[in-house]
């Protein structure tokens, strides 16, 4: 299991994966928008998306868990 955290404070702009999807290290999972910049949150390792803990347009803080990989 690996928790993928928001690396900045902002708003979830897009969720690029679905629960059950398999991902490789470096794949974009979520895009956060902050201060007019779009910042991809990438998978730190390969695995399967076990949980998505955010929704599009939701404000998130640095350190919040966005996605759980298995």
């Amino acid at each position: 299991m690996a928790d993928v955290l928001a690396h900045i404070t902002g708003t979830v702009w897009k969720i690029e994966v679905k629960v059950g999807q398999s991902v490789s290290a470096g794949d974009t999972l979520v895009i956060i928008e902050s201060m007019k910049m779009e910042m991809p949150v990438e998978a730190p390792q390969g695995g399967t998306v076990a949980e998505i803990r955010c929704a599009e347009a939701q404000p998130v803080n640095e350190g919040d868990v966005l996605v759980v990989l298995r």
Binding site: I8, T9, T11, S34, M35, K36, M39, P59
Partner: protein, 449 residues
């Protein structure tokens, strides 16, 4: 003159316009989103109207709500500041249709400039040199490849409807053109809702110099000399100075005088009035028109401080129909000034850094001025641009301005968020910057942590 002005912007620039208007005995109306209700610009205006929730498209970009606020408060004119609706010809027309004065250029001039390939055609026909490139947007990747060979490599691919460097990419050979064309087309569609892209010759390390323009609605147009903004990161300005070190002490006088004249020619070709800025690239001893910013520039204070021009004051008087009473021969440079954009961002990784300003202790001293949108204990939210303030430092010479800047930046204390102040300090202490040897690739190679 107007009795009441609505300021359709936020933070630093809203505060600045408010101060100028109040000094001119104009009563002011601020608009604000839910995210901004505690910021000083809301408190300082004579009236303040909540315009909507935090996201910009529901507040500062919501033209209908802004026009409604103007009507409700009885404002006669709207100053758009920079960013948001400032470059929207459509908004300027909507103001007029509502019986309001838009403080800016004529809507038609804005529309002509908005399409950058159209803008190139217009100034080129008037005799202003443009960067070699395509005359119109390109339909296919193979058309792009053909044009790239004609122009010569490297080429820069740009979105016709774009701004802020979004979608720009460089192709160094034929193989890269197709990839760059597709990438830029996708980005243009996503960001601006239109696909057109064009190509132009890419200079590896040009200087970026811009000319301030000011004109009234009676045919009188002057320039306010140049500013240099070569210190950029990803096409976003970081620091800007006036005069350009390239023209210091009367150097390159012919180039300078031709460029200033070309700026006037370009502005006339657009049918321009009010304040605007004509941007040029300077490379290999020649200058090339890039675009015209049809609004007040973020860095207008360094022109004001070194020429004495009251740019916002004149914007308001010109919009009210007054004649510009400044002659070209009155515009003379005195001293030097540097403006530092203070961003809420990590100075090493360049990531946004929203948060609470637990400590905000700006520097003071001779020639030091801070235009800030925030004060201590305010929250910098992630909803808007990361620029939270502008540090503006002037001196009788460039060397004096740099010395004062170094002291000011060193004593600028901020806690609670990260800022790019350490980056600015690295820049002003860099020997190449101090010698004036700057170009747009400066930050790629220098001022590293």
């Amino acid at each position: 003159m107007f009795k009441k002005l609505l300021i359709a912007n936020r933070a630093e620039i809203a505060r600045r316009i408010n101060a100028v208007a109040q000094k001119m005995q104009i009563s002011t109306v601020a608009i604000y989103s839910d995210a901004d209700r505690d910021l000083p610009f809301v408190r300082e205006a004579d009236e303040a109207i909540r315009i909507g929730p935090a996201p910009a498209r529901e507040s500062y970009l919501n033209a209908a709500a802004i026009l409604d606020a103007a009507k409700k408060t009885g404002a006669e004119a709207i100053h758009p500041g920079y960013g948001f609706l400032s470059e929207s010809g459509e908004f300027a027309r909507a103001c007029r249709a509502s019986g309001l004065v838009f403080v800016g250029p004529p809507a038609d001039a804005m529309t002509r400039m908005k399409d950058k390939s159209e803008a190139r055609r217009i100034v080129s026909a008037a005799g202003v040199p443009v960067v070699p490139g395509t005359e119109s947007t390109l339909p296919t990747a193979s058309a792009a490849a053909e044009e790239a060979e004609r122009i010569g490599f490297p080429v820069l691919c740009k979105a016709a409807g774009g701004g802020g460097g979004i979608g720009m990419a460089v192709a160094r050979n034929l193989a890269e053109v197709e990839k760059v064309f597709r990438q830029c087309t996708d980005r243009a569609r996503a960001a601006f809702g239109r696909e057109g892209v064009y190509l132009e010759r890419y200079f590896e390390s040009p200087r970026h110099i811009e000319v301030q323009i000011l004109g009234d609605h009676h045919g009188h147009l002057i320039h306010g000399l140049e500013r240099e903004c070569s210190i950029q990161r990803r096409h976003q300005k970081v620091l800007e100075e006036a005069p350009s070190p390239l023209f210091a002490g009367g150097a390159n006088a012919q180039l300078s005088s031709e460029m200033l004249q070309a700026a006037l020619t370009a502005a006339r070709a657009f049918g321009y009035a009010n304040a605007g800025t004509v941007e040029f690239l300077v490379a290999e001893g020649a200058f090339y028109f890039i675009e015209m910013n049809v609004r007040l520039q973020v860095e207008h204070p360094i022109t004001e401080l070194t020429t004495g021009l009251d740019l916002i004051g004149w914007q308001l008087r010109i919009a009210a129909g007054e004649a510009l009473a400044v002659k070209q021969s009155d515009v003379v440079r005195r001293g030097a000034a540097i403006e530092f954009r203070i961003y809420a961002e990590d100075p090493v990784r360049f990531l946004p850094s929203p948060g609470t300003l637990v400590r905000w202790s700006p520097p003071e001293g001779e020639g030091v001025r801070l235009d800030s949108g925030y004060e201590q204990s305010n929250v910098v939210t992630p909803h808007y641009d990361p620029m939270i303030a502008k540090l503006i430092v002037s001196g009788s010479t460039r060397a004096e301005a740099i010395e004062r800047s170094t002291r000011a930046l060193s004593s600028f204390a901020v806690e609670g968020i990260k800022t790019n102040i350490p980056l600015h300090l690295r820049i002003v202490q860099d020997p190449a910057f101090r010698s004036g040897a700057v170009d747009t690739s400066f930050l790629e190679h220098r001022a590293k942590p």
